[in-house]
């Protein structure tokens, strides 16, 4: 078992850990309200195309639109820890109006069900040659509604 010494995001400016918990970083068009993820310097709604956009945090709640289980290790340059463990990959609808592509948090992708509530987490994708965790955004089944109050 690898002991992670430090942790770093696989990419900067796409997701972040805030005091309120993990969030995705996107933009919202000030002219028409359309959200984008990742950040976009312009609004990509054809009738708008405004450059007046602001950064917004997206998440952490959503609903699972669809998912699959990736049974085979994808090719390089995609990186995974050995031994490879099949993982879930899905599309989660956020109340902000975006359907987001995401890996599913381990450990039991078989427990996933389309339509279930999900929540954002930031977790290791793999460990680099020095044992440092390289993190990405993932979603997992949300705890029961009653606990969230």
């Amino acid at each position: 078992m690898t002991t992670s010494t430090t942790s770093r995001p696989i990419v900067e400016g796409v997701f972040t850990d805030t005091a309120a918990g993990p969030r995705l970083i996107g933009t919202r068009c000030r002219a028409c309200g359309t959200p984008h993820f990742p950040r976009s310097p312009v609004c990509r709604t054809p009738a708008c195309n405004s450059a007046d956009v602001e950064d917004v945090h997206l998440g952490p709640h959503g609903v699972l639109w669809s998912f699959t289980i990736q049974h085979y290790k994808p090719p390089a340059p995609m990186r995974f820890d050995d031994p490879f463990v099949p993982y879930g990959i899905g599309l989660v609808d956020l109340p902000e109006g975006l359907r987001v592509l995401t890996m599913m948090s381990a450990p039991d992708p078989a427990a996933l069900k389309i339509g279930m509530p999900m929540e954002l987490v930031i977790e290791p994708l793999y460990h680099d040659d020095h044992g440092n965790a390289v993190t990405t955004w993932k979603f997992r089944a949300a705890p029961a509604q009653v606990k969230r109050g």
Partner: protein, 393 residues
């Protein structure tokens, strides 16, 4: 604009040809098309070619130039088109424009490719937050089969599609390919064979996802006047259309899409097909057969609905009644499709036109669609590229 006819088609068989150079495969496909057309190499006035990222073209995607140099330079203009898996359809569209606009009377459209084995790798640049390919693949763990599997899984919830119905599409494809000498996989499968193949990306199994192959295909286009001199069996291009996507598709081309309740997810293709119908003056009900891009069995169910060939949710019903077989009401992929050929990505649009031309000429043998008069071909490629072609005899 002038009428444009297909006067010759030629195909190199699909498969894995490790010891055969791509130039030789393309030369054979071009030779077959020229011979079929009764056109000499030095009568070709322009070349519209598929540009490959994976093979040939001197590593610059100059596949048309490489073919011209291999057969012998004649000084004609060469156009190299790149549109992912929609490349062949894109090359056909440019070839069509060259003839229709009067810039050339006789044009060669050609594409050939040798694919690397296994799942296609990403091209993303590491750590670049604006590179959607990098975010999709390296950060979110996406693969081609995973993309198709999520669409398929959602369809199972929306329409009640079963794993048996998905498998049945593959069974039908292999039944057709058994009669096609150019197909890579010609053995027939039972439903159990397909259901027992390994799960690649739930709910999709190995025999329900197209493999990657080597292949090449070519067609010769002529003006109407030239065509009448060359052949008694011209096949007419009633429309050849290229389109790109628009916001509103429910499945992201990057890592997000605007949330939609809609069930149509391929606007690049729908736009191309609908414009092709309008241009050709053809209604969906007029179409006698379709060659569509079945990267996976899902598309044979979803695409006909997105194009108005049948009602949403009706595709499984038609499949189970044999209506998508060559003798049915809505024949799909009598060639055996990509499931049995495997994809040589850039050549697929030209491959489809070869099959449709053989069908319209009544030369498709045991996989012939009886009395086929109007045919539709379609491709979809990376970058939200879509193409559609309507052929008539």
């Amino acid at each position: 604009m002038r009428d444009v006819a297909i006067v010759g088609v030629g195909m190199h068989p699909w498969g894995k040809f490790d010891d055969k150079p791509l130039t030789l495969m393309c030369r054979e496909a071009v030779g077959a098309a020229l011979s079929d057309a009764g056109v000499a190499w030095n009568e070709i006035e322009a070349i519209s070619a598929g540009s490959s990222r994976f093979s040939g073209g001197f590593g610059w995607g100059l596949n048309g130039n490489e073919i011209a140099m291999d057969i012998g330079l004649t000084g004609v203009p060469v156009y190299n088109l790149s549109a992912g898996c929609a490349t062949g359809g894109s090359a056909l569209s440019v070839g069509h424009m060259l003839v229709a606009s009067g810039q050339a009377d006789t044009v060669l459209v050609v594409a050939g490719e040798k694919m690397p084995r296994g799942f296609l790798p990403t091209s993303g640049s590491e750590g670049d937050a604006t590179d959607l390919q990098y975010l999709q693949w390296a950060c979110a763990g996406m693969t081609g089969p995973a993309f198709w599997a999520m669409l398929t899984h959602r369809r199972m919830v929306d329409y009640g599609t079963t794993e048996q119905q998905l498998a049945r599409v593959a069974v039908k494809a292999h039944k057709n390919a058994a009669h096609n000498p150019n197909a890579r996989y010609r053995q027939e499968f039972t439903l159990e064979d397909v259901l027992n193949s390994a799960v690649v990306s739930y709910p999709l199994r190995l025999y329900e996802v197209c493999p990657v192959s080597d292949g090449a295909a070519a067609v010769v286009l002529c003006s109407a006047e030239e065509a009448r001199k060359r052949t008694t069996k011209p096949v007419w291009i009633a429309a050849s259309v290229v389109a790109t996507g628009q916001p509103g598709d429910g499945i992201p081309r990057g890592v997000s899409a605007l949330t939609t309740d809609g069930r149509a997810h391929h606007s690049e293709v729908t736009a191309a097909v609908r414009k092709a119908f309008a241009t050709a003056g053809v209604a969906p009900s007029d179409v006698d057969l379709v060659e569509l891009q079945d990267n996976t069995v899902y598309y044979e169910l979803a695409f006909p609905e997105e194009w108005g060939l049948c009602e949403p949710g009706q595709a499984e019903w038609l499949l189970e009644r044999g209506e998508t077989e060559p003798t049915g009401k809505m024949p799909i992929n009598p060639s055996g499709g990509f499931l049995c050929f495997g994809e040589a990505t850039t050549a697929m649009g030209v491959f489809e036109v070869c099959e449709l031309a053989w069908q319209l000429r009544g030369e498709a043998g045991a996989r012939q669609v009886p009395d086929a008069k109007v045919a539709l071909g379609q491709t979809i490629g990376l970058g939200a590229n879509g193409t559609a072609v309507i052929l008539k005899r």
